[in-house]
């Protein structure tokens, strides 16, 4: 059998922090073909009241997927990464991510549901600054397809 149902309720504490770089925001924004000047131009971001360039609304996936990787890598999870399909994604921003932020993510396993021969797992990454300021919540549902 695949995914371990006893994962529900597990919490993976924040580990290594993620330093949000200005060039990383620009690189990510370019990769998703974003055009808002506030992603690229410090002055444009400052005119909107931010201290530095603003990350696109889906940038938090970088931090969330690093947190998910801890779960996937845990041998107790029973998750085969090559059979994982992204099913649902949600971001709630308590405030936008800007260059210079140092972020940590605490990962919660909220749900494991059998889906035919496979399973759906829902995780929630609570993203905050290293000083404890809440920044974003990223909820991901991953469908783990059954092996043939």
């Amino acid at each position: 059998m695949g995914i371990n149902p006893e994962l529900v309720g597990r919490v993976f504490p924040a580990n290594q922090s993620y330093q949000v770089g200005r060039e990383k925001i620009r690189e990510f924004a370019q990769a998703i073909k974003a055009t808002s000047p506030a992603h690229f131009d410090v002055q444009a971001a400052k005119e909107l009241g931010y201290s530095d360039v603003v990350a696109p609304p889906t940038f938090a996936i970088i931090v969330a997927q690093r947190a998910d990787a801890q779960l996937i890598a845990d041998p107790a999870s029973g998750i085969d990464f090559s059979r994982v399909v992204h099913a649902d994604q949600r971001f709630t921003h308590h405030r936008p991510i800007v260059a210079g932020d140092e972020l940590v993510a605490e990962l919660h396993v909220d749900q494991v549901r059998e889906m035919g021969a496979g399973a759906m797992i829902t995780t929630r990454a609570e993203i905050a600054t290293v000083d404890g300021e809440k920044v974003a919540t990223a909820i991901s549902s991953l469908l783990v397809r059954a092996e043939d």
Binding site: F28, Q30, I32, T35, P57, Q65
Partner: protein
């Protein structure tokens, strides 16, 4: 700036087409750190029963929100953004094309005001996203603070 008072449920905020080719997927893999080979290796994608290389769901989700960010004039105004990935966006590698210059797959997005909250002064923008003649994102909704 968008004037909250002028918005009505059903108002179309705009539409946009995003082109995605194989080179774009390699770029997104590098920028995001998601190196799953189904997004860049056709042999592997087919071995796991996909029709071909598919775009990262997060590429599609990430690329279509720009319509909202530019409409509101502030990407930081998007306070909530969610979607369900219904169908993979297949990105072919046409014979004789340069992968960096190939036209690739067209992702079409149209945004409409789905709901308004006058107390919080937020608007929910519903995005209809299609590629290869199929809906690829479902319940794709962004809440913007106005």
């Amino acid at each position: 700036m968008i004037d909250f008072e002028t918005l009505e449920k059903g108002t179309v905020i705009g539409s946009h087409t995003v082109q995605v080719n194989r080179a774009d997927l390699v770029r997104y893999a590098g920028a995001s750190g998601d190196f799953n080979p189904i997004h860049w290796n056709e042999r592997f994608a087919k071995e796991v029963e996909l029709p071909s290389v598919i775009a990262h769901g997060m590429f599609t989700m990430g690329s279509v929100i720009d319509l909202v960010s530019t409409w509101v004039g502030n990407p930081g105004a998007v306070i909530d953004y969610q979607t369900r990935f219904t169908k993979p966006v297949v990105v072919e590698d046409p014979e004789g094309s340069n992968p960096s210059e190939a036209e690739g797959t067209s992702i079409f997005v149209e945004g409409k005001v789905g709901a308004l909250d006058s107390e919080k002064r937020t608007a929910r923008i519903d995005l209809a996203v299609t590629a290869n003649d199929s809906k690829v994102l479902l319940k794709c909704q962004a809440v913007v603070q106005l």
